[in-house]
């Protein structure tokens, strides 16, 4: 696995260890939060899908967001990345407020997301998928498009970087195939590689392992871990408990839109509230699942 392509980014050696002094309580402050959200609320009709009092995500760590179906994980993702508006509350990425920013502006700040249903751009080739993600392309302006000599150099540089990423995600042999011909697992890999192509500071993965075979899960996990080791902050939603306990530095548990617990995997494993939430001792309000499914 090569990491040359990420050489430009400052590695944050073992920064996830800096969580050691943080107490495992909901809303705990982190030493160096990359993402912060306070008082975030989002309701659909009478149903409150998300009501997060305070949440911080430590820079350079893998943070898992878990919770039963309908807990509001996807809604929280959408709200934080500008794909949905929040009714009230504030969020800040690297200390700068994200208030009122639309999805593409949030992405330009370096907070890049993927989707629960993989969004490979099926009738574009794998390489085109990658090149599309590169930042600040002159040729992407309508007038600039007519002056290929201006953007040709930039395009070549992007292609080189894309090639390295495809190599790393073992997709290089598919570069000229249309993305629609990839298998489900390869699409997940492509989506992750494409997100990396846009040089994110933080990447938010919505169920990256859903519907992926066990062998590929292992390789996806390695990719996520190596991202963290290169200094990218990762926040991901997942259901598979083994996966979560295995790679997360920190776990945030959401139930009925609220953060009910957070902590290291060991803290979460033994947390009675979490067990209750999963086993349903805490009674779900009727229709509480609608918000996420309705997305």
């Amino acid at each position: 696995m090569s990491s040359e392509s990420m050489a430009g980014r400052m590695p944050a050696p073992e920064s996830h260890d800096r969580l050691s002094g943080v107490s495992p309580v909901p809303g705990a402050a982190k030493p160096d939060p990359v993402l912060r959200a306070s008082g975030v609320r989002r309701s659909f009709g009478g149903l409150t899908a998300v009501d997060v009092e305070h949440l911080e995500v430590q820079r350079g760590t893998i943070t898992a967001l878990i919770g039963p179906n309908g807990a509001g994980k996807s809604t929280l993702f959408n709200v934080l990345t500008g794909f949905d508006r929040m009714d009230s509350g504030v969020s800040a990425f690297q200390g700068r407020s994200l208030r009122g920013l639309s999805g593409h502006r949030v992405a330009r700040r370096g907070l890049v997301r993927t989707f629960q249903l993989t969004k490979a751009l099926t009738r574009l080739t794998v390489m085109e998928n990658m090149l599309l993600a590169a930042r600040g392309q002159t040729g992407e302006r309508m007038v600039g498009a007519f002056a290929p000599w201006i953007w040709r150099g930039q395009e070549a540089a992007n292609r080189e970087r894309a090639e390295a990423l495809l190599e790393r995600f073992r997709l290089a042999h598919m570069r000229d195939e249309i993305a629609g011909s990839l298998s489900g697992g390869q699409r997940k890999l492509l989506e992750m590689a494409r997100a990396l192509m846009s040089e994110p500071t933080m990447i938010m993965l919505d169920e990256p392992m859903a519907g992926v075979n066990p062998v590929l899960v292992q390789s996806l996990l390695e990719h996520i871990t190596s991202l963290r080791d290169e200094g990218v902050s990762v926040l991901f939603v997942e259901h598979d408990m083994d996966v979560i306990m295995g790679i997360s530095d920190w776990i945030v548990v959401l139930a009925e839109g609220r953060v009910i617990a957070e902590g290291r995997p060991d803290d979460i494993r033994s947390n009675q509230q979490v067990i209750d939430a999963y086993l349903g001792t805490q009674h779900d309000e009727p229709g509480a699942g609608g918000a996420e499914e309705g997305r």
Partner: protein, 332 residues
């Protein structure tokens, strides 16, 4: 009429000015639908404002023709903004509904009594070509092949319109080729596939969709302007909704998402329409179509072309020059 003559007549129509005009409008539609995935069912609305842009400028206000063309482009720009601003942030189907409605409302406004002083209302406008035919460099006479049964000839006037119209089609196709092979084209093709994914990569999807709508609309308006010039008269009822559906048929026949798809589609469609027209007339003259005559033949011709299109969609969904592999990929 024998078959050779029918073929000659069909060819004549397929390379004539009308085919070029439809090709240009279909190029605009190809940018909208074939590349950006915008469902525009009101391309005729852009042709309408384009035709009247020229006609009102030259006929009502007696200003130069080239100014009229600029007015056409300006009108298309405004129409695209009017359509796009409220709908492009919404789901794709809202644009589809709005376009068909706006195009029809536009036609009703242009033909209304209120607008009669400017647009001529239901009477339309005449002598709208300005100095266009005065600029004709071709000496009068007959041009083309004259070989007995297979003869295709055009007047000097037609040749001049054809030259200009096909030149515009060529320029538009070149522009489309450059655009769709650039990073800009990559973004709009990405939007066609999944706009949320493109948004998540930091692209301003709304702005790209608007640019596409405006440029495709301008192509439609230029087609309308050429239509006015070709016929030297404009009439609101030439811009009925079915014009848009002809354009769609042409685009799908040729192959959406291909630079030359709309051009080949327009040529092919006019060839087929004229050919079936000739064939049906012949068959009817032989007394083989009892009970069908005159105007009904025209309707029958459309039914036959419709059947041909249905067969095309079943057996060759990608169109004449489309890519079958791309067409059949599961989009989501």
């Amino acid at each position: 009429m024998d078959f050779i003559q029918i073929l000659a007549e069909a060819t004549r129509t397929a390379i004539g000015p009308i085919a070029a005009i439809y090709a240009l409008a279909a190029i605009g539609l190809n940018l909208h639908f074939g590349y950006t995935g915008l469902l525009n069912f009101g391309q005729v609305g852009f042709m309408l404002v384009g035709a009247y842009g020229v006609a009102v400028t030259t006929s009502t206000y007696e200003l130069p023709l080239l100014l009229g063309v600029l007015v056409s482009i300006g009108c298309a720009f405004v129409l695209a903004l009017l359509l796009g601003l409220p709908t492009l942030r919404l789901r794709a189907d809202y644009l589809a509904i709005s376009t068909i409605a706006v195009a029809e409302v536009g036609r009703l406004i242009y033909r209304s009594t209120v607008a009669q002083d400017i647009t001529g209302g239901v009477y339309g406008l005449q002598q709208v070509a300005g100095d266009f035919y005065a600029w004709n460099p071709f000496p009068s006479g007959s041009y083309g092949i004259d070989a007995g049964a297979f003869s295709i000839t055009f007047s000097a006037r037609d040749v001049w319109v054809m030259t200009v119209a096909w030149a515009v089609v060529l320029l538009a196709s070149l522009a489309m080729y450059v655009l769709t092979h650039s990073p800009w084209g990559r973004v709009i093709k990405g939007i066609r596939e999944d706009e949320d994914a493109v948004r998540a990569l930091g692209k301003n999807v709304f702005a790209y969709k608007m640019q596409s709508l405006v440029l495709g609309g301008v192509f439609g308006a230029l087609a309308g302007a050429l239509m006015a010039i070709n016929q030297q008269t404009v009439h609101p009822d030439a811009f009925m909704p079915q014009v848009t559906f002809y354009l769609w048929a042409m685009l799908l026949l040729g192959g959406a998402g291909r630079t030359l798809g709309p051009v080949i589609g327009a040529i092919g469609m006019w060839f087929l329409l004229t050919m079936f027209d000739g064939l049906l007339r012949d068959v009817s003259a032989m007394g083989l179509l009892p009970g069908i005559a005159g105007g009904e033949l025209g309707a029958l011709r459309h039914a036959v072309v419709g059947l041909a299109l249905v067969l095309l969609i079943v057996y060759r969904p990608q169109g004449l020059i489309g890519n079958r592999k791309e067409m059949l990929v599961n989009v989501k």
